[in-house]
């Protein structure tokens, strides 16, 4: 009897142990550090209370970093979801050609971000880039993709969207395929036009998929690091600096561990609040079968 009681705990133990050792404990440590001033080597960690938090909130650079992060995440998720939804509607068909296209658009997902970043840096080169070469064919010349603070964040978003679309499209296609065909037929008999069919039937039926992808997408894009670290290092003029990169930069380039930890705590708070809010508020509206 007691074995039956203990069984579930035994089964989750290894996973929870891993999470505790490698995720929860470090998070705790990070929170601890956020109240201290430390530079790695000094034997003392000086307790500073909330001063890291207050100075962070007054730091114009950090505020811009937050803005960048929200901008990047919001736009990336929005664009990825809308484009891949359209693509899914288009590509959700049988046939070798469609299979090939599905494979092709998914392929960026399998390549490491490091490779992708290098590739895109090259594609987006102002003078020699494939992108400008291509746009040049249409008379658009020399857009300084990564080198102008006006376009740099957008350029990173383009890369993220480009990479994410395939994965999202595939999940959307799966979602579309699980919508029963006959409700479309019912709608046809109800003389429904395409746009109404999309907004009144398809979209609500896809709401769980949308929900899942939005959450996963937001969490993922809040965590963006590699592309920034390789393509822009947060520049030019701080225009692409987002929170994880900022944390890394402060901690390991500028030796401000406490400060970096504080930014980490704030990131966690943002993600946490956001997730809870999203689940509570929107979760209710989502249709589950």
């Amino acid at each position: 009897m007691s074995w039956i009681k203990a069984r579930p705990y035994v089964m989750i133990f290894p996973a929870i142990l891993v999470f505790t050792l490698f995720f929860l404990y470090p998070i705790g440590y990070m929170i601890f550090l956020s109240f201290h001033d430390w530079n790695f080597v000094s034997p003392v960690k000086e307790f500073v209370g909330f001063s890291n938090f207050t100075s962070l909130m007054e730091d114009a650079k950090f505020l811009q970093v937050l803005r960048n992060t929200f901008m990047y995440s919001g736009l990336t998720v929005f664009l990825t979801i809308s484009i891949s939804l359209l693509l899914a509607l288009w590509l959700n068909k049988k046939g070798a050609m469609y299979g090939m296209v599905q494979g092709a658009i998914f392929s960026p997902h399998i390549i490491s971000l490091v490779s992708i970043s290098m590739l895109w840096m090259w594609i987006m080169d102002t003078d020699y880039g494939l992108l400008n070469w291509f746009l040049g064919l249409f008379g658009i010349t020399n857009i300084p993709w990564l080198t102008d603070p006006k376009t740099s964040l957008l350029s990173l978003i383009i890369v993220a969207v480009w990479k994410g679309i395939g994965y999202y499209t595939l999940i959307f296609i799966a979602g579309l395929q699980s919508i029963p065909r006959d409700i479309y037929e019912a709608a046809a008999l109800d003389d429904t036009n395409r746009i109404r069919t999309f907004f009144k039937l398809t979209l609500p039926m896809l709401s769980p998929t949308l929900f899942f992808l939005t959450i996963i997408g937001l969490i993922g894009s809040f965590q963006v690091f590699e592309t920034i670290s390789i393509m822009t290092k947060g520049g030019p003029i701080n225009s692409t600096n987002t929170i994880v990169y900022y944390i890394y930069e402060n901690g390991f380039r500028f030796f401000k561990i406490g400060y970096a930890s504080t930014a980490g705590v704030i990131l966690l708070l943002i993600i946490g609040i956001f997730t809870v809010f999203y689940f509570k508020l929107l979760g209710r509206k989502v249709h589950y079968q």
Binding site: Y9, V18, P26, Y98, A104, V114
Partner: protein, 274 residues
């Protein structure tokens, strides 16, 4: 409903364009990997290299102990996968099938880990690994990922969909819980497991950051670091060799992807991650 030929052509062109947008960068990557350094810098770019410089590959391969990197990458990716399977399958089963105190709490804890970027936690983990004496060992690359919140999430979803009667039938057949998991649950969740395996393998095969910080010697380095070494040059980067290196990195994944692609849609239709 009738397709007129004009739209067919437009549709076809659209599809080709899509392939271009998503596949051309790779074509360029491949093409670059065969060029001379000077040719990589010509503008507009040559799509087809003037000559096929196979030696770029051998240069990339010989720029470090690539065989070692390759082995390490394989051991780490596969090792992670095996441990993940070992930890997520029972956990997902317990979360999906048992009612117990703290079920929701522990599942919440699991989900929280999904939200944490590795850049936030590597320092404490580094110190911990050092305390365990596992720094700069393959274990240090494997252990932190020995379980996966995303995997538990996906698998739990698909375990939940197995009808209760099936488990009862098995219990009447005198099957132990262990046997139920292995013989019934796991085979039924196969598409999900394969998909998860693919994602996990790809992610860890390509992982750059973690091996970078956790290793200090070549003995425990993985492929992406070997490739990065080609890039970490004070001065001009040899793009041709770098791209050859990247191709070496990508090819195994490409092969795996080729075999796994069909499973993905099926898995998502099946799990209800929709």
């Amino acid at each position: 409903m009738k397709k007129n030929p004009f739209w067919k052509v437009i549709n076809g062109i659209g599809l080709l364009l899509l392939i271009c947008i998503f596949a051309l960068p790779f074509v360029w990557m491949i093409s670059t990997s065969f060029k001379t350094l000077g040719e990589t810098m010509t503008f507009p770019p040559n799509w087809i290299p003037n000559q096929l410089l196979w030696e770029n590959f051998s240069k990339a391969w010989n720029s470090g102990p690539f065989l070692k990197y390759f082995l390490n990458s394989t051991i780490v990716s596969v090792g992670i996968l095996i441990l993940q399977f070992a930890t997520i399958i029972p956990a997902a089963y317990a979360f999906a099938r048992y009612r117990f105190k703290g079920n929701n709490f522990f599942f919440g804890v699991t989900m929280v880990t999904l939200m944490i970027p590795t850049q936030l936690i590597f320092l404490p983990v580094y110190l911990q690994m050092s305390a365990f004496g596992l720094l700069d060992s393959l274990w240090g690359l494997i252990l932190p990922f020995a379980s996966s919140a995303f995997g538990i999430f996906l698998l739990r979803q698909s375990f939940k969909q197995v009808p209760e009667e099936l488990l009862e039938a098995a219990r009447l057949d005198q099957a132990s819980e262990w046997k139920i998991i292995i013989k019934i649950m796991v085979p039924m969740a196969k598409p999900v497991l394969i998909t998860f395996a693919m994602f996990s393998f790809i992610a860890h095969w390509n992982d750059y950051f973690w091996p970078l910080v956790m290793t200090t010697t070549e003995a425990s380095r993985t492929l992406p670091l070997g490739i990065a070494k080609l890039r970490e040059v004070d001065g001009g980067v040899a793009w041709n060799i770098l791209m050859a290196g990247n191709l070496i990195l990508v090819i195994p994944i490409l092969i795996i992807f080729f075999f796994g692609q069909r499973q993905i849609i099926r898995a998502f239709v099946y799990t209800g991650v929709k």
